[in-house]
């Protein structure tokens, strides 16, 4: 072989190897799509099995959820109500506090305090949720019972409150990012007009960062809806159609946990119920996630 030919052969080999590696990396990236598809296929397939036995009307309108009893009812409403009540309590805590903390960190806090607090908030974000469940059941509920003696040992209030504290760092860090993205000259314009810090924060920065803050709220909602362990430990597992946070109730997620802790045979109707419940949960969070990301994208593009 001439030296030239061997050089070409070498180059072709090198080119082939490059394309092969690129293909492998592409497959790795494509795995995320495969996971989404797999989630949809599994949930929809098992749910279809479920809806062969239960009509969609019953599923949406029946007020009882007792799939494992002899007198089985398949109304998702009690689970949805439990989910919404715990999430609402959580948001009633996380949204005001998260917003105040975000405004404070972004507009008021001295630089050094911010440098300390941000990692601390990140650390708190890493505490396992089952530990928060422990707090709710064994510390917060007894404390609340001191004020409300009638409060049952399992209740949505305590689970919701703890869940709220849990998602504060999440809400405040996304909101703060949005506020920091507001360019300095807008603040300077406000100061030049004689506005104080508080006025600037409230009437200039917050509106300018509004879509980002709204995204933080919406992502917070989706997280509160999908949270499992806090409610599983502290809110009780009995499906209960109520809007009163002082009562125990099951959420969609706790129902899935409850069934998984038992031993349901693969392929039975009881087994399929958790996939139907999961599909409802996924659709709820998907709706909020998409709304949140659209809003977040918008605030990024403004400046």
């Amino acid at each position: 072989m001439t030296p030239d030919a061997s050089r070409f052969a070498h180059r072709r080999l090198r080119h082939l190897r490059e394309r092969f590696i690129e293909f492998l990396l592409f497959l790795a990236a494509l795995s995320s799509v495969a996971i989404t598809v797999a989630i949809m296929v599994i949930l929809v397939r098992e749910s279809l099995g479920f809806f062969e036995h239960v009509s969609l009307v019953d599923f949406l309108t029946d007020t009882q959820w007792t799939p494992l009893f002899d007198d089985a009812h398949y109304g998702i409403m009690p689970l949805v109500s439990g989910t919404l009540v715990t999430a609402s309590v959580a948001l009633a805590v996380a949204i005001p506090l998260g917003t105040i903390i975000a405004i404070y960190l972004s507009e008021f806090a001295p630089h050094r305090l911010r440098e300390i607090i941000k990692p601390v908030l990140e650390l708190l974000d890493g505490i396992p949720t089952v530990v928060y469940g422990f707090f709710a059941l064994l510390f917060v509920t007894p404390l609340l019972q001191y004020f409300f003696p009638d409060l049952p040992g399992f209740n949505m209030l305590s689970a919701g409150l703890v869940m709220g504290v849990m998602i504060i760092p999440y809400v405040s860090s996304i909101s703060e990012d949005a506020m920091r993205a507001v360019p300095m000259h807008i603040r300077e314009g406000s100061y030049a007009m004689g506005a104080t810090r508080f006025q600037t924060a409230l009437r200039v920065v917050t509106p300018a960062a509004f879509s980002g803050i709204a995204a933080a709220y919406i992502l917070g909602i989706s997280r509160a809806i999908g949270e499992t362990m806090v409610v599983a430990v502290a809110a009780g597992m009995q499906p209960n159609l109520t809007w009163n946070p002082m009562e125990p109730a099951a959420t969609i997620t706790t129902y899935i946990v409850q069934v998984s802790l038992g031993d349901l045979p693969h392929g039975s109707l009881g087994y399929q119920t958790i996939f139907a419940a999961g599909l409802v949960l996924l659709l709820m969070t998907l709706f909020f996630n998409i709304a949140g990301h659209l809003l977040r994208k918008r605030f990024r593009e403004v400046y």
């Binding site: 990236a29 797999a38 946990v257 998907l286």
Partner: protein
Amino acid sequence: MAPDKGVQVMRAMIARRKRWDVIFAIVGLFSMLGGVVTLAALIGSMAMEGVPRLSWDFFTSFPSRHADKAGILSAWVGTTLVMLVTALTAVPLGIAAGVYLEEYAAKNWITDLIEINVTNLAGVPSIIYGLLALGLFVYQLDLGQSIVAAGLTLAILILPVVIVATRESIRAIPGTIREGAFALGATKWQTVSQHVVPYSMAGILTGVIIGLSRAIGETAPIITIGALTYIAFLPDSPIKSEFPYVSFEWLSSAFTVMPIQMFNWVSRPQEAFHVNAAAAGLVLIVMTLLMNALAIFIRYHFRKRIKW
């Protein structure tokens, strides 16, 4: 000469407005400290309850019906083995996906689709991954309720974290580095594997550690695949004294993990088991906090040192 009335009114107004500044600064500081202090108090009281239970026996005993004899041996061994599977799957896959999206991907609809998917997956509740694992790993692929099924589940769960961290730290590498490598005749893969990825390793490592610390605490998806809570044996050892020295029997073994053990103890009515739960929770918190602290340390340490 006294200032006239208008100026006085204006000064009073300014003072009033400034007062709001101070009030808000105080409210903000207190809500922040309030949250942090409340959590610190909760963790503190859990520690007070759990610390007396932390003894050598607690780490070397299996769970038991008698609260004072129960320990977390099978739980922490299970957690370690599951994390091994998770890390070995999620890290290469996540880095490869991140590298592809940042360095190779053309601007087309497939790339858009992948990017939307990654953001979306990060927002899917963890219990949904549990359902996926139950349907796919446990029954479809017939892996059973095993360590490998749990490890793969958590790997899928933290994949978005690793991908996003990889992308962000690769994006911080200036283009001049790549151009320098290309100018010397390096191929794309040589540039990426010998320059871009090693230089962004600090950021990638941070993301990997944060992802793993999240996986350690995840309970819901593992419950969903049906992990048992009462495991009084250890999986087969991965290291053998005879040829070929390694064994993969442990992958298909039944298991339990730390957060499930804790959940099991919290759910029992007896007080004595709550003390065990507090001790297990303490171990769990210390594990995740150490990992997070390590990640934050790596990030701050390298951010200061590297200047392009």
